[in-house]
């Protein structure tokens, strides 16, 4: 439980830090790169390495590549739909979230699980 609390606090603080950096950069598209910063990884890798060893982090990192590629496809889709049809951004990002799961699941099935 203390471990989860530490991860929660560190994760929340790292996210705020990166979002502040992203907010102040201009143009907006450059600030956008901070929306895909390795916040979760930076918040948890040191704790994971301490508890389970660096071998565990190495396996996680390989999977993170797949998750990041899924993020890329998802972010491209959200950007396109927002620019083309101009729905509310929260609705667009929420409705298109299955794209991340679909791409991640596909990469898991054809690459990671082997």
């Amino acid at each position: 439980m203390p471990d989860l609390l530490a991860r929660f606090l560190i994760g929340g603080l790292v996210v705020i830090l990166f979002s502040i950096i992203g907010d102040i950069f201009k143009p907006k598209s450059l600030g956008g790169i901070f929306a895909a910063a390795p916040t979760i990884a930076l918040a948890s890798i040191t704790l994971t390495a301490h508890q389970h060893g660096t071998a565990c982090v190495t396996v996680e990192a390989r999977s993170m590549i797949a998750g990041a590629l899924a993020f890329f496809v998802y972010a491209c889709a959200v950007s396109f739909i927002l620019m083309r049809y101009r729905p509310r951004s929260l609705i667009a990002a929420g409705a298109l979230a299955p794209i991340w799961f679909a791409v991640a699941a596909t990469l898991y099935a054809i690459w990671l699980r082997k």
């Binding site: 994760g11 102040i24 950069f25 598209s29 929306a35 979760i40 797949a66 993020f71 990002a93």
Partner: protein, 141 residues
């Protein structure tokens, strides 16, 4: 293409928005950790690149842009959504940087210390993200 820092943008942020980001960030970190603990690092690693704070971030960008336009006496809904689209495009460049971050961790960590690999991976994220962002701007991709 002017690159710069606009600290005044920080005044647009409200305490409840930072709280939302904090809660989402903390929750996603804990969920990724729980998945690793329950199902192993292969599945857990996927969720370390889960876009958990992406949607709230875009929504805040849209809200702030609408407020800026309203303060100027204009209706800026469509403009605000275009601005959110631009931020999402930037996030796509950041996602490729995130893949580079993970690649460096995956390939270097078995033979180097975490203290060396983590800064190297972070530098790879920044370099690849900015490079992809610049290429997209330069070639209008």
């Amino acid at each position: 293409m002017l690159i710069g820092i606009n600290v005044a943008k920080l005044r647009e942020g409200k305490p409840h928005e930072y709280l939302t980001r904090f809660l989402f960030g903390g929750a996603v970190t804990v969920i990724a950790s729980l998945i690793t603990g329950r199902y192993g690092p292969i599945l857990g690693g996927l969720f370390m690149a889960f876009p958990g704070i992406f949607a709230p971030g875009l929504s805040m960008t849209e809200t702030h842009a609408i407020e800026r336009k309203a303060a100027a006496g204009a209706i800026g809904t469509l403009f605000a959504r275009a601005e959110a689209s631009v931020e999402a495009a930037g996030a796509s460049a950041g996602a490729l940087g995130l893949a580079a971050f993970a690649l460096v961790l995956w390939k270097f960590l078995p033979t180097h210390t975490l203290a060396l690999t983590l800064p190297l991976a972070s530098a790879a994220w920044l370099f690849v993200s900015v490079l992809c962002w610049w290429l997209r701007k330069r070639f209008h991709i």
